[in-house]
Amino acid sequence: MKHKLLAALLPAFLLTAGFNAKAADEPYPQKPIVAIVAFPAGGGTDIIARSIFRTAEKYVGKGFVVDNKPGAGGAIGFTAIAGAPKDGYTLGFINAPTIVLNPIQLADKVKYKLDDFVPIANFVSDPGVFAVNVDSPFKTFKDFVDYAKANPNKVKLAYGGPGTSEALALRNLEQKLDIKFRKVPFEGTGPQLTALMGGHIDIMISNASEIYPQVEAKTIRVIAVGSEKRVDLYPNAPTYKESGFDYTQVSMRGLAAPKGVDAKHVKFLADAMKKSFEDPEFRKHAQELHLPLQYMGPEELAKELARQDAFYRAEYAKSPW
């Protein structure tokens, strides 16, 4: 009787054991991968996500599903990525410096830590820009700084509001160059552009990719970009550093997995993303969309996130902005 039971159970046991062994070795991925985007469909992050995935399907072998989880300035989506299953089938887009800033600025409310993410690749680095009306007397960034110096608290500057990385850039600008201007908060780039083109403000700070249509139409001019090197989008615009303002301001968009995903899967995805990034099909598409591309591998991105974390923590310790 006992033997019979054993005999009956044994194959079942073996079968499950076999399944278990198979689960560990089975080729990855077996099914489409979900990628959480912490911003709405049609936004900048959503656009890069869908463009890279279109090409990445070729190298990964399975499709991607973008899952938009907007809210609370990205914090809701980032939290969802951090808490996602660790099976490698849920990834997410991380936006530095936002993802770095949330746990610092909203320490008591945000339920994720920077350590909860394993970087896979960065695709886009959208530098900050200072832009003026095409007929503005500020021909260069230096013109603007000189004028602001001579006329303290006179220049009307549009920015994304307190607490943003733009606000911190402006604080550094004011402190480092000893100038002061009127910072007018705006909700998004659209209203900023309206105010700039209508002559209600003198200068605005935003991101490179968001003002391309108006720059191309020659209604506004870019006088400085916040990246380390000049960008292809505006080859004639010098960097902040070239203009005498020692600061970098870049919005990054990259892919990460929740911590705890098998390292083999992460490596596989990182390789596939690198290939996709170099694929001419993606390059062509990205050019049509005017995306300021910048690739970083897992180590490089991890290092950059750590650097930003240290920098922003130090700035926050001085005083919140």
Partner: protein, 501 residues
């Protein structure tokens, strides 16, 4: 003349079987999205953008624009039939539209809204294709002080509409203003009224507030009453009685003008357009006391105004590359995704695209009219469904709708909470429409005030140094005086209807 030829070419492009099909799909989806509470045009358009990836840019934008104005039609249906406004612009429609549906005149309300929307949409698009590029430049003269003044103007119109008890109306409006304060302070970034909840960081969502305060509270209060009462005996047809034609047509034409002009100005909102149209109609009416009791002009005017606003709002997007509303911002994303750069160069670089989309808007509006006139009769029959069946169904659809936007149970909980608040407000006879409209305006008023004060050298005086905002504020003073006078004299306003519902 050149434009006329371009437009004809546009029609040629828009009338290809593929584009016609996707125009139809767009307006149909838009209508469905508009009818489902929670799924407004913003969420609807955003969700469908990915599906347009495989289409050509022209076809894709034709379809997405169709969703945008189709949703405006759909929003009317829920406002009229179940008292759930899909967005700020439809709040006003609830006041008289829902009353009409209860009187069995839902068909009339929907019919006149469909006709008005068609006329408003077409006239706005037609004129603005030609005048838009010129007018758009003047629209830029509106800066933060001007927006502040427009919003104050809107708030005063609201005060003019407040019901029997001015005190109760003001209480409701102030609660709305306070709710608008939830989230980060635009000037300093300080968190306000978050209660440790990160979900509140960006403030309270309009859709959640509207569905809770209007839809849920309506179901709650009605459930207390005898369910067999207040049922219309029969449903009137679609075409309003002949005597109402003339006032309706005037309301439609005035609504077209108001919506078209406001739509051109980036930074205004469709809610202001419908609010202005409603108060204008009430001022023009021979017997203003009908308003709030099912006055057909109270539906015709605002519904036309918000559709003509929607048409006109596309002009700043096409000519300046600037989105005038959240929905337009989503469309902007779609443009970029398809490799099109909106802005002045679009007219030069992709004229075929622009004209095809413009032409498709005429066609789409026509499809909507043809589709809606026969359908309105069936929609209106919802009012005949026994409440025991209808209420649970509405409740279900509302909850699923709210959940589907962000897939967040927090949102569902908030909606239920606001439902309870709305129920209490109805018990205490506080007008919920005053709350929600002041909520919509309050956010903008605060933001533009902060901007104005930052720009100003001498505080609030700056508002009067600028001609447009100075004029608007002076007008506000006059309206305030007149409004107070009429409210005191009549002791009765349109929003009073809300109290009796």
């Amino acid at each position: 003349m050149e434009n006329v030829i371009s437009l004809l070419h546009g029609f040629q492009a828009a009338l290809t079987p593929t584009n016609l099909l996707f125009c139809f799909i767009g307006v149909l989806v838009g209508q469905i999205v508009g009818v489902l509470p929670g799924l407004g045009p913003v969420a609807g358009t955003a969700m469908l953008i990915p599906l347009t990836y495989a289409l050509s840019p022209t076809t894709a934008v034709i379809m997405l624009a169709g969703i945008f104005y189709g949703a405006m039609y759909g929003g009317t249906i829920t406002s009229v039939l179940i008292n759930v406004p899909g967005e700020g612009a439809s709040v006003i429609t609830c006041i008289d539209g829902y009353k009409m549906a209860k009187q069995g005149r839902g068909g009339h309300a929907l019919g006149v809204a469909a006709i008005g929307s068609f006329i408003g949409g077409c006239i706005a698009v037609f004129f603005l294709t030609f005048l838009g590029p010129v007018l758009a430049k003047y629209a830029l003269k509106f800066g933060p002080p001007e927006f502040f003044s427009i919003m104050i103007f809107g708030l005063l119109l609201l005060v003019g509409l407040i019901g029997k008890s001015v005190i109760k109306g003001l209480i409701a409006a102030l609660i709305g203003m306070i709710l608008a304060l939830v989230g980060q302070d635009p000037g300093t970034g300080v968190d306000r009224f978050l209660f440790g909840q990160i979900e509140l960081l960006e403030g309270i969502d309009f859709v959640i507030l509207a569905i809770g305060l209007f839809g849920l509270s309506e179901i709650l209060t009605n459930s207390e009453e005898d369910m067999t009462l207040n049922k219309p005996e029969e449903i009137a047809g679609l075409i309003p009685p002949r005597a109402e034609w003339k006032p309706c047509l005037s309301a439609i034409l005035r609504g077209t003008g108001i919506g078209g002009l406001l739509g051109l100005i980036p930074g205004t909102s469709a809610s202001i357009a419908s609010l202005m149209s409603y108060s204008l109609e009430r001022k023009m009416a021979k017997d203003p006391s009908r308003f709030g009791e099912g006055a057909i002009e109270g539906v015709a005017g605002p519904e036309t105004a918000n559709n003509s606003y929607a048409g006109a709002a596309l002009i700043p997007l096409f000519t300046l590359g600037i989105p005038t509303s959240p929905t337009i911002a989503v469309l902007l994303g779609a443009f970029i995704m398809h490799g099109l750069t909106p802005g002045p160069l679009l007219y030069i670089k992709n004229p075929d695209f622009i004209w095809a989309v413009v032409a498709s808007m005429f066609i789409g509006n026509l499809i909507l009219l043809i589709m809606n006139l026969p359908l309105a009769k069936y929609w209106a029959k919802i009012a005949l469904v026994p409440y025991e069946l209808l209420f649970p169904l509405i409740l279900l659809v509302c909850m699923v709708g709210v959940y589907s936007v962000n897939r967040s149970l927090w949102d569902v909980g908030m909606t239920i909470g606001f439902g309870a608040i709305g129920y209490m407000m109805k018990k205490w006879k506080l007008p919920t429409a005053a709350l929600i409209l002041s909520f919509v305006l309050g956010k903008n008023i605060e933001f533009t005030l902060v901007q104005t004060l930052t720009l100003s050298d001498n505080g609030l005086l700056y508002l009067f140094e600028r001609p447009i905002s100075g004029t608007l504020l002076t007008l506000c003073g006059i309206i305030l005086a007149a409004g107070l006078y009429t409210t005191i004299k009549n002791k009765r306003g349109a929003l009073a209807a809300d109290e009796e519902a």
